[in-house]
Symmetry: D2
Subunit: 337 residues, 4 copies
């Protein structure tokens, strides 16, 4: 089938390549002419403007956007000028599902349909395939299915789950129509919320291993410092590159994130290239917001999120308050380090 792809960054370009590989026709557009040119060489039809992009698509059009969240609304407004009833806009970025609900309603008024696709796989998607969580009207999702299937990993990229040998769900192929508008990004949102916590689990655990030599450091004897009661129990110097590699085989904590962690550790077990100011890109926040709205606990997911905020110095004032309180009731002065 034919798909228009707007936004040819690492993920968008990777998608075009997977679609071309399966014989689909792709119209490709990006604000960078170089990005367009590169894909034209690989068989895509290039576009020079959003208008040109839309004009090169066959009705009913399928225009897929792979752009930063903050730009989606203005791009929709731009494209909507040229689209016609029956056309479909697909948002494959990390939009908030609440925006999906609003957009679908606005576009419906113009006879346009909107499909939200949460895409996981990062920069590896071109190679591994893109895991797609899809929301929208059934008939439209059905029409786009050949594209979803080509973008998705193949079924054989994972073992068959016992009990699903004869499953007819597309989930076993790496894409799923999760429900009505917003369902795709809702599932992707929670996916990322989980991702934050998985990452934090490894990070905290490895940090504990890293400090297992705490007994080798001398501590001062004063009222401000808690003595380590049994320094002889904390004399270990672990090789974290080896440990993360070890866990990749046969252990309960094996995962793709562990594979990547082992790769990073293989390069430099001290991770000296990283300062540790950890960004968050929205979904982790929205996951916790959803938990709160639903009234369900999220101790672990929220802790992972807040640790990221804390890594960026956002608790500084709170910490000053604690020091001030300690000074007030106990005359405790902050230690230099």
């Amino acid at each position: 089938m034919q798909i228009g792809m707007l936004g040819l960054g690492r993920m968008g370009a990777g998608m075009v390549r997977r679609l071309l590989r399966d014989g689909h026709q792709c119209v490709a557009y990006d604000v960078s002419p170089q990005a367009v040119e590169a894909l034209v060489k690989e068989g895509a039809i290039g576009a020079t403007s959003t208008k040109d992009f839309i004009s090169k698509l066959t009705k009913p059009r399928a225009a897929w956007m792979m752009v930063p969240v903050a730009l989606v609304d203005r791009i929709i407004a731009d494209l909507a000028q040229y689209l016609e009833p029956g056309d479909t806009l697909i948002d494959g970025g990390n939009s908030y599902y609440k925006d999906d609900l609003r957009r679908a309603k606005e576009l419906a008024a113009k006879g346009l349909t909107y499909v939200d696709v949460g895409v996981s796989g990062g920069v590896w998607g071109a190679e591994r395939g893109f895991c797609q969580m899809i929301g929208g009207e059934t008939s439209v999702v059905k029409r786009l299915e050949p594209a979803f299937r080509s973008l998705a990993p193949k079924r054989e990229t994972a073992s068959i789950t016992p009990g699903r040998e004869h499953a007819t769900s597309t989930a076993d192929h790496g894409y799923l129509h999760c429900g009505p508008t917003g369902a795709g990004h809702f599932v992707k949102m929670v996916h990322n919320g989980i991702e934050y916590a998985l990452m934090a689990a490894y990070a905290e655990g490895l940090n504990i291993l890293k400090h297992a030599n705490a007994g080798k450091q001398s501590r001062e004897v004063d009222a401000e410092t808690t003595p380590l009661r049994n320094p002889e129990e904390f004399q270990y110097e672990f090789n974290l590159a080896d440990v993360t590699e070890l866990w990749r085989r046969g252990s309960v904590v094996g995962s793709w994130l562990l594979d990547l962690t082992a790769q990073a550790m293989a390069k430099d077990p001290n991770l000296a290239n990283f300062a540790g100011r950890v960004s968050d890109s929205g979904e982790g926040r929205w996951t916790v917001l959803a938990a709160i709205d639903e009234g369900v606990p999220a101790h672990v997911l929220s802790a992972a999120l807040f640790d990221r905020f804390e890594s960026r110095g956002q608790a500084d004032f709170a910490n000053k308050i604690l020091s001030a309180q300690r000074y007030m009731f106990g005359g405790h002065h902050e230690k230099a380090s």
Copy 2:
């Protein structure tokens, strides 16, 4: 080589089978004669008592224990009667590494050596191979290496980590001498601490998906109930069996634990056979204790641990206090449900 295995539960028996498969000699003992008998049929040498078990081992003996933590000390005391200088005791259970330090010291006084092996892989180990984290004296660990290698998964059970193509570490084969006494169980302890948090990450996320239909339920209008501001945003009914299956291909959250979760969901997405009283078997607790002793934060790992305590009703009195406080300052009466 020859290994004596004491404790022929699922893990111990699986180990014997893997050792026999690779041509090692195994002396097998268990309090259950049936368990011994079964392995004798597969080629093991059976023992009828701990004394008989030790007598059938060739010096320097290697006696491997796979028994519940609470029994290890008394079994060591029992075996030590029959062991001779140069012999080695291996604890493959989930002992606290602080006990390893004590035991190694006690046994050294008798000329015996002690090796601690944290084993991950659960009931699947016989098939997947056992991931082994090993602590103890280098020479002794070296001597036992043929057994470790046979028990471990093969290198090819995971892809080669870029940068480790020519790695000489045994980590790439699924077993690792992590350091001196206790190092094996220390790494295994943290492994399990991470495991708890990985599990909790999926559990919390899927719980949020499960309650994404919160807007369909009516809520009462009273001062005790927070109204859901936008019920129309929580109208989703997700198929969690499909979602967990979906994430197994191409997504960032793929893992062995997710594979198992998908299997459980494939059987019954409502998990009606489980009541949700979640046990913890020690390592998760000790991981947080270690974090505290080291003075490093463990927001995520501790939250996962405490949620297990909470699932068993251990916060009940705390919750009564909260209700009592609310009643005292606000006259709030508890709602029936």
Copy 3:
């Protein structure tokens, strides 16, 4: 001055009484004629309908609402029919500050002003005075000041803060114009977020004291149960009524919430009248939402919130997932209790 009070529950009635005591005129209305009647006997002017209520107020009117959050919008819509430009609506309930922003804008279009007042003090306010956090236009807040001052505790209800001996802020009297529309409820929201965590701090701590006898209970020896390593260290039977009373004098943790906790404990240290299903009334949730929007960590406040959700069984499905996972990888069966 004259104030109209709509909603004569415990807080609203207490406010009317404090206002009357200081010589203000009060027009009182409630859907319950008995509630109106009671205050008429104490000097208030009774109203029989919202229309009657408004008609009995002198222009520019000041109509203060003390009603459940979920009813505020429809009451505003009702009152707005009868109000005239220059009149002021005051919301003294626990509204979300985002609703304040919307309402102030809507009412401004009709020439009406809106003041949001976060009120703390619960059922004790009539006696202790009401702590008021106020948001809105300066001129309007100024006009209402005599009422705020009468409702507030007196300055002498707390010691003078060193450095504030000559402070001119009304904060020292127990009411404060915190900023423009929404500022009052924003500060009140965070106040309650803090309140949840203060309560949880005592609840968790007292729960730890309650279980300090853990070493007296026998635990089973099996792979599902973590043995208590040193039962002799957990043999304490604390008298929690005495402990909470003790802390009220001279300790660092003294507080009004502790006073109330001691009162509850004095009645029944087992709190047998409470089941421990803890409600939350919105502000705790919104506080965490605000933290997330601002990108600042709230580990403690969110934990207190999530514990309330957990007390109401909202983690049940998550816990089933954990049990299912444990069964899948380790063959662990749930223990009966």
Copy 4:
């Protein structure tokens, strides 16, 4: 009665003064002769060495130690040389209750008794009175009661708790025999665990108020930055000195810690003298360890503890891991700030 006081820092000296004020006899010793001299001028009997200190006490002796935790054991060893059967050592510092259990046993072998006293009140104790949590043998505690009562705040320093008008417990006077050896420090330990969380509750809440102007700052538009959806909702500039003062009257969150916070804010609402590296002095850690040993959840208390570790940079390596993982799967580069 007569009390020997060893350690004349702020707390020890304050205790001597309160004892002298009530007519008790005090033998005072400190490594600093100036500290001794100062109290001799106020009526204490000075000692020049530990031997001299003991020799000046009347049998059965009562020697009270107010020294840093890390020094207690060596001081006990020193004093024990000179003490005689029937004498009592009192540890008024912040010892771990597990050390109390050990010491009491060791001293009992010499016919000495040991009393553990958890003391709250900080540098304010001399003025407010010292809240004392006491553990030890009933007869010995009984004998020392006149001293405890003089050190404690008076009953009238707090209102009478309804239901305790005729209470005979000393708790209402600010001191309590909590149970056998260790009970005093156990209760004090949990007291401090609660204290950490109370402090954190205010700190987090005030930090949220501080950042309520988040909408005024511009944020970059890129994939690494979560856009603030509604900047117009975060335009508040709160006066935190006023807000903390406000809450001191009539609100639910009033407390002594809030009083101190308001004092600190009155001096400098930006707390510019503090860097925010928050120490912890043991009890907060031990409280969480106790919770884990008992198997009861402590989400809030542990979060407060871990935030302190985090304030001192102890999560740095964990954060680097998170950044490394993000780089590996998404090609995300850390932002400069």
